[in-house]
C-alpha cells in the first residue's frame, strides 16, 4: 500500500521534521535522557547495593587487564592449558590405542572367518579401520581436555578480558577489537570462528576477520602440532620437562599465528580493504562461577563429539582412498609415490617432501587426518602403523629423512596453510562471494609457502 501521498502521513512527517529542525536535531538525546531518568528513579526506589563486592572484581580486573601484566598472564594461561592437554592426553591416548588396536586384530580375524577376500579385508581393516582408530586415539583425549578447559575460561568471563588485552594490537592493525574474540573461537574450530565474525558490524572489518581466522590453529590441527612438538623435544630432554617444553613450543606456534593474523590484517586494511578501525564498547562481564556440569556436557557432547564425528566421517573414506592409492602399483611404485615424486622438487624447495604435501592436500576435507595419511604413505606396505607411542612416531619420521627443518616447516605449514573444506564452505556462505573465498584459500597458502621457503633458505645457509 502506498502511503506516500496520504495527506495525514505527509502532515505527520512534515511536523516531525519541523520539530527536529527547531530542536537542533537533538531529540534522541532528550528521549534517551528521559528513559535513563526513569530507570534511575525506579532503581533508587527498589534496589539496595553493596559496593564492596564490585570493587573486589575490579581489583582482579586491574591485574588481569593491566598493560604490564595482562599479556604475560594470558600467555601463562595459554601455556598451562596446553601443558594440561599434552600431559593429560598421554595416558588415555595410549589406553585408547591399545583397546582400539586390540579390536583391530579381532576384526581382521572375524573378516577372514566369514571369508571376506583378503584384499577387501586389508582395505577395511588396515585402511579404513586403522585410520579411524588413529583419529580417535590421537584426537579424542586432547579434545576432551582442551574443550572443557577452554569453555570454562569462556564461562568464567576470561575471553572478553583477552579481547580487551589484545584490542590495542588489533587497533594498531586497523581492524576491529572484536576480531580477538572471533580469533579465540577459531582455536576451537575455524568454521565456528568464521561464523562468530557476524558479531563484527562493519563489513570491511568482518571480511578481514573472516579471511585471517585460519591463522590460529583449530582443534583439528592442535593434535598434529602437539604430536610434532613432542617429537621435536623428545630427543634431548627428560620426560618431565619435555611436556613443558612441548607446551611452550605450541604457545610459540600460536604466537606466530597471532603475529601473522595481525600482519595480514594490517596489510589487508592498507591495500584491498582500506579503512579506519571503528570503535566499539566492550562490556567486561562479571566473573561468574561456571556451571561445571553443563560445561562438561556441552563441551564434550556438543563440541568434542561433533568435531570427532566429522573427523571420523572424513577419515574413513580418506583412509580407504589413501590405502588404495598407496597399494596400486604403476611400474614398481604406488600411485601415491608417483605423485609424491612429482611434487618432490617443489616440496624440497620449501623444506618438506612430496608425501607431506600430498598429506596436506588429501587432508583438505579435515585437517585432523593429515598426520595419519602421512604415516600411511610412509609405511612401505601401504598401511598405517598402529599408534603406540611418540617414540615410535619419531622413528618413522627419522627413517623417512626428517630433519629439524622438516619438522619445523611441517608445523608452520600446518599452522598457515589453506583452511579445511568445512571452513572454506562456511566462508563462502558467510561472505556470499567466490572472490573472497578464493582469496581466503590462496592468501594463506602463499604465506605458508613463502615462510617455509624462507626458513629453508636460512636453515640451509646455516647448516
Amino acid at each position: 500500500m502506498n502511503l506516500k501521498d496520504d495527506v495525514k502521513i505527509k502532515e505527520v512527517i512534515e511536523k516531525s521534521k519541523k520539530f527536529r529542525a527547531e530542536n537542533n536535531e537533538n531529540i534522541r538525546d532528550t528521549i534517551v535522557e528521559s528513559i535513563y531518568e526513569k530507570a534511575e528513579d525506579i532503581t533508587r526506589k527498589t534496589v539496595v547495593k553493596d559496593t564492596e563486592r564490585l570493587l573486589s572484581q575490579q581489583r582482579i580486573d586491574d591485574i588481569i587487564t593491566s598493560k604490564r601484566t595482562g599479556i604475560p598472564i594470558m600467555l601463562l594461561m595459554l601455556a598451562v592449558v596446553f601443558w594440561l592437554t599434552i600431559q593429560g592426553a598421554n595416558y588415555p591416548s595410549e589406553f585408547l590405542a591399545k583397546y582400539l588396536f586390540w579390536i583391530e586384530g579381532k576384526l581382521g580375524l572375524f573378516f577372514s572367518y566369514i571369508q571376506v577376500p583378503l584384499w577387501l579385508n586389508n582395505l577395511l581393516v588396515l585402511g579404513v579401520y586403522r585410520t579411524f582408530a588413529w583419529v580417535v586415539a590421537v584426537m579424542l583425549p586432547p579434545m576432551a581436555i582442551f574443550f572443557p578447559i577452554f569453555t570454562l575460561l569462556e564461562d568464567v568471563g576470561y575471553l572478553p578480558r583477552v579481547c580487551f588485552n589484545l584490542d590495542h594490537a588489533f587497533k594498531k592493525a586497523c581492524c576491529h577489537g572484536k576480531q580477538a574474540l572471533t580469533m579465540c573461537m577459531g582455536f576451537g574450530c575455524n568454521a565456528a570462528g568464521v561464523i562468530a565474525c557476524r558479531i563484527i558490524e562493519s563489513p570491511r572489518e568482518r571480511l578481514i576477520a573472516i579471511v585471517t581466522n585460519n591463522f590460529v590453529p583449530c582443534n583439528g590441527r592442535f593434535p598434529t602440532l602437539i604430536a610434532l612438538s613432542m617429537v621435536f623435544v623428545g630427543v634431548s630432554f627428560s620426560k618431565t620437562s619435555s611436556s613443558i617444553i612441548a607446551a611452550l613450543m605450541v604457545v610459540l606456534l600460536v604466537l606466530i599465528g597471532i603475529g601473522i593474523t595481525l600482519l595480514t590484517s594490517y596489510t589487508l586494511s592498507k591495500t584491498i580493504l582500506k579503512g579506519m578501525p571503528s570503535s566499539f564498547t566492550l562490556e567486561l562481564p562479571p566473573y561468574r562461577k561456571p556451571q561445571i556440569g553443563r560445561v562438561l556436557y556441552t563441551s564434550i557432547i556438543d563440541r568434542t563429539m561433533f568435531v570427532l564425528g566429522r573427523a571420523v566421517v572424513v577419515a574413513v573414506p580418506a583412509g580407504a582412498i589413501t590405502y588404495i592409492l598407496s597399494n596400486i602399483m604403476v611400474g614398481n611404485l604406488s600411485i601415491l609415490s608417483h605423485a609424491a615424486n612429482f611434487l618432490a622438487p617443489f616440496a624440497s624447495a620449501i623444506g618438506l617432501d612430496g608425501f607431506i604435501l600430498i598429506a596436506f592436500i588429501l587432508g583438505f576435507p579435515a585437517n585432523e587426518i593429515v598426520l595419519p595419511i602421512l604415516l600411511m604413505a610412509y609405511m612401505s606396505k601401504g598401511s598405517m602403523i598402529q599408534f603406540e607411542s611418540i617414540d615410535q612416531l619419531r622413528g618413522i619420521l627419522l627413517n623417512n629423512g626428517w630433519t629439524y627443518l622438516t619438522l619445523i616447516n611441517t608445523m608452520l605449514f600446518s599452522l598457515l596453510h589453506f583452511p579445511c573444506a568445512t571452513t572454506v564452505w562456511t566462508i563462502k556462505k558467510e561472505t556470499g562471494s567466490i572472490k573472497w573465498t578464493i582469496l581466503s584459500v590462496v592468501m594463506p597458502t602463499i604465506i605458508a609457502i613463502v615462510i617455509c621457503f624462507c626458513t629453508t633458505q636460512i636453515y640451509r645457509l646455516l647448516w
Binding site: S16, F19, T43, I195, Q291
Partner: protein, 252 residues
C-alpha cells in the same frame, strides 16, 4: 491488505521471521534482554535445549527458537539477540525491535541482570513503549544475593506495572513461576499497566498531536505513540521496517 488480522500475523511470522505455529492457539514468546544477562540460559531452561551459553556479550548472533509445553498449551520461544536498547543503532537492535513490534509476540519476556538492574531497565522501558504484554524476569538472583544486592521485587512490579519474576535460570529456580506468568499473560488472566515515561513538555505536546493522527492510519497494527516518538527522533530504519512488514510505503 485484504487479510484478517490473525491470518496476516500468522503468515507474517512465518515469512518474515521464520516462526511457524503448529496450531493457531500456540503462543509466541519473545525473549529480549541485554547481552550477557543469562538470556540464553533462561532460553535453555525453558526449552530444555542445550545451546551453548558463553560468558561474553554478543554470543547470540542468530535468532534461535525453541518449544515447550506448559499446562495444556504449547509455546514457541524466540531468543532475540542481546541488545542494550531498541533505538536501532545496530543490526541486532533492529532485529530485536522488529520482532517485538511487527512479529506481535503474545508475550515478551525481558531478562534483567539482577546485579545491574538500572542499566537493564533502559531496554525494558523501551520494550514497554511498544507492547503491554511484558514479563520482567530478574535473572542471576543468586549472584545478586552473593553480592549483597537487595531487590524489592514487589516494589519493582508496582513501579513498572507488569509482573516481575525473580529467577536463577542456571539452577532452574523460579522457572515454573515464570512459565505460569507467561501462561496467564497469554490467556489474559493478568492485566498489565506499564509505566509511562515522562518526556519534556515540548515532546509531550508533539506526541499529543501526532499520536491520534498515526493511530487513525495504522489502527492497532503498531503502537502509535511509540511510532510518533520514532518519527520525531528521525529514525529512518522504522520507515524501512514499516515498508517491509506492514507493506506501507512511507519513503519520501
Amino acid at each position: 491488505m485484504g487479510l484478517t488480522h490473525s491470518a496476516s500475523t500468522k503468515q507474517g511470522l512465518k515469512d518474515l521471521f521464520n516462526v511457524e505455529k503448529l496450531k493457531e492457539e500456540d503462543c509466541v514468546i519473545a525473549l529480549a534482554g541485554n547481552p550477557n544477562t543469562g538470556k540464553s540460559t533462561v532460553f535453555n531452561s525453558l526449552t530444555g535445549l542445550h545451546q551453548h551459553t558463553g560468558n561474553w556479550p554478543g554470543k547470540t548472533v542468530v535468532n534461535s527458537q525453541g518449544k515447550y509445553s506448559h499446562k495444556d498449551k504449547d509455546f514457541i520461544i524466540v531468543d532475540l539477540p542481546g541488545t542494550y536498547s531498541l533505538l536501532a543503532s545496530s543490526v541486532e537492535e533492529v532485529v530485536a525491535r522488529d520482532f517485538i513490534c511487527f512479529g506481535k509476540p503474545d508475550v515478551t519476556v525481558v531478562v534483567l541482570d539482577a546485579t545491574c538492574i538500572e542499566r537493564n531497565l533502559n531496554l525494558l522501558l523501551q520494550v514497554l513503549e511498544i507492547t503491554d504484554n511484558v514479563v520482567a524476569c530478574v535473572n542471576l538472583m543468586d549472584e545478586a544475593k552473593s553480592k549483597n544486592i537487595k531487590i524489592d521485587i514487589e516494589g519493582l512490579s508496582k513501579e513498572l506495572g507488569i509482573p516481575v519474576i525473580p529467577t536463577t535460570a542456571r539452577n532452574n529456580v523460579g522457572m515454573n513461576n515464570l512459565k505460569d506468568t507467561i501462561y496467564d499473560l497469554c490467556h489474559n488472566k493478568i492485566e498489565t499497566c506499564p509505566v509511562q515515561i515522562l518526556y519534556p513538555r515540548e515532546i509531550t505536546e508533539q506526541l499529543q498531536i501526532l499520536t491520534p493522527m498515526l493511530s487513525s492510519i495504522f489502527m492497532d497494527k503498531i503502537n502509535a505513540k511509540w511510532l510518533a516518538l520514532r518519527l520525531l527522533d528521525g529514525d529512518d530504519s522504522i520507515i524501512n521496517s514499516i515498508g517491509k512488514f506492514l507493506e506501507y510505503d512511507l519513503k519520501t
